[in-house]
Amino acid sequence: MSLLDVIVVGSGFGGAVTAARLAQRGLRVLVLERGPWWGPAGTEQPRSDRRIFPRGSWGVRKLVRGVRWARGRATRDILLNADGLVEVHSFEHLDVVTGSGVGGGSLIYTNVLEAPDDGFFGAFPPELSATELRPYVDRVRALLRPVPLPAPLPDKNRAFERAADEAGLGPPCYPELAIRFGTSPKVREPAPNAAGVLQSTCTHCGCCVLGCPERAKTTMDLTYVPVALRHGAELRPLCEVVAIGHDGAAYEVRYRDHRSGAVHQVAAPRVVLAAGSLNTMRLLFQARDRHRTLPLVSPALGRRFSPNADLLGLILGTPAVANGGEGPALNAFVRIERDGGLRFIVGEVGLPLGALPLGGGLRRRLGHATGLIAMGRDASTGTIEYDGRGLRSTVGRAMDPALFDDIERTLERVARPYRARRVWLNAPNRRGASRLGTVHPLGGCAVGRTPEDGVVDHRGQVFGHPGLFVADGSLYPRSPGVPPSLTIAALAERQAALME
């Protein structure tokens, strides 16, 4: 009989929060994380468990963990480095980039903690509302201590303010960022954070989306994960879950330990899947359709998938920006409303020039480049399917063409005042293309009232399988149109509080 109470799969915004809160309640928690400890957060970990962020022409080989290719008739899982930082999923009309490592998506996100407006919660069951979730949002804020970007603002912000104004979109708002700022970006001022872990302060290096080398970004591996460990949880890095099932008494979890190559099994009465939307969905699809171990998983699995209407525009060769890589990657955005509600946001996102292996000339030229990123409230009617080997999807622009056209027109308006040599909309694809890219795959294990319209109930528990929970972005029944991290973490806080 297992002496574990809970196995948590993944250590990102959902897994780390759940692990910490359940460990604080005295439960025996085992966290299985497929990636290593990254960067300064791993300093105290064994050498086999930690990696430095992929930097430089040699280090960049560790940037990509692997590619899951599902286009045309081909389905391929290509594992390049089990200890790579990002994973690429390439579907028919959609490319998805996700993070891998202790801290999950928090390692590569843009630090923005933004709550969706109240209208977003109309898609949730009645037990879950903006008001009901607010105390859990406050708990996340209390540990991550987000603040807006303080003055002095980088030059790129002034350029974005001017561009938004000239485009008639009004002044941008400065959202709360999960970053420790000091009195000046030129001085490092280390101090313990709310989790009691030593953090430094932001130097405006702009490397946020490829891992913060300064320990200034308040990621999960510096906050919730240490809280979990301090309360007795065990975290096994580089351990990738490959199958789940139920043996009648407990949930069995099989995982591959990439350090030794061995495959192990552990069991516990509760399992929390927080492996990221696509990986959580794949585990559930496999369990239901291939391994046939969780046959009652809802037929709604894979439905209500959304790329959060992410769309990237690159502004190349602009005199308005002298150092596009300076400052927190995304720290300001404008809200575009249609019919009285949020339709999408447009923010300025700097390129992580300091983290890329670029020659001096190219680096100088790209200094005059920056990015615009949009996220929107799309139709969220996408579907992820399972072909017996991997996930497949046809989600792309066709899911909500009017929204993506609107976003591109708006990005073009915002880009015009930059007087750039080239504006590349829908990068790395082309303007108007059916193919999109996203870093926010959401939905697929949507919260629902019944198994007919959702995979999990309002507590995140999988319908038909008591003790099995989902705690990541796959819970979203629709796209929020803003960065989803804060809500994922708040939902995990609520889930841990309600878990019996």
Binding site: M1, S2, L3, L4, R28, L30, A41, T43, E44, Q45, P46, D49, P192, G196, V197, L198, D221, L222, V225, P226, L229, R230, G232, A233, E234, L235, A243, I244, G245, D247, E252, V253, R254, Y255, R256, G261, A262, V263, H264, Q265, V266, A267, Q286, A287, R290, H291, R292, T293, G388
Partner: protein, 174 residues
């Protein structure tokens, strides 16, 4: 309060069971027998489709030095192995073979829940005594039990006269 991040282990939690082919092939025949006896039988409906097979023990190898035995089994799992696994569909099944790019099925069997040969309880029995098989194959009797989610431990017996001999152990993975 310490500002460092210290890794911990849960001291008395059940140790993780190693179930990969390399770890299982390090076990002796007696240990594999004991493991098989401790496992539950899968239902017919739980096993289906193409299952990847890996040999983990072969009769006659137990007297060889451990390193040589491991080497032979590794070779059978790798380039020398022609057997790729099994395909199960309801009450029928067959074996999957490959020589380079050439793939084919050969050696069919009937699938049913039945007691094991050694009387250790029910298992999923793979009976090769079917008319389409060549006569020598009809003496083969397979047994499957659940090792984990989508993972099965199996063994092959050969019936000769009134006795049976266990020829090999293998795993099947969905």
């Amino acid at each position: 309060m310490s500002t460092a991040i210290r890794a911990r282990t849960i001291p008395d939690a059940t140790p993780a069971t190693a179930v990969d082919a390399r770890s299982l092939s390090r076990r002796s025949r007696a240990e594999l027998d004991a493991l098989f006896a401790s496992l539950p039988a899968p239902a017919c409906t739980q096993v289906g489709g193409d299952l990847r097979g890996i040999e983990i023990d072969l009769a006659g190898l137990e007297r060889l030095p451990r390193a040589l035995r491991a080497g032979i089994l590794a070779a059978l799992r790798g380039p020398l192995g022609l057997w790729r696994g099994k395909r199960l569909a309801g009450e029928r099944g067959t074996n999957l073979w490959a020589i380079g790019p050439l793939r084919r099925t050969f050696a069919g069997f009937r699938v049913a829940t039945a007691p094991t040969v050694d009387g250790s309880g029910p298992c999923l029995r793979l009976d090769y005594d079917v008319p389409e098989n060549p006569l020598p194959l009809r003496g083969i009797l397979g047994e499957l039990r659940t090792l984990g989610p989508g993972l099965f431990l199996g063994r092959m017996h050969y019936r000769a006269g009134s006795g049976t001999a266990c020829l090999l152990y293998f795993t099947l993975e969905a």
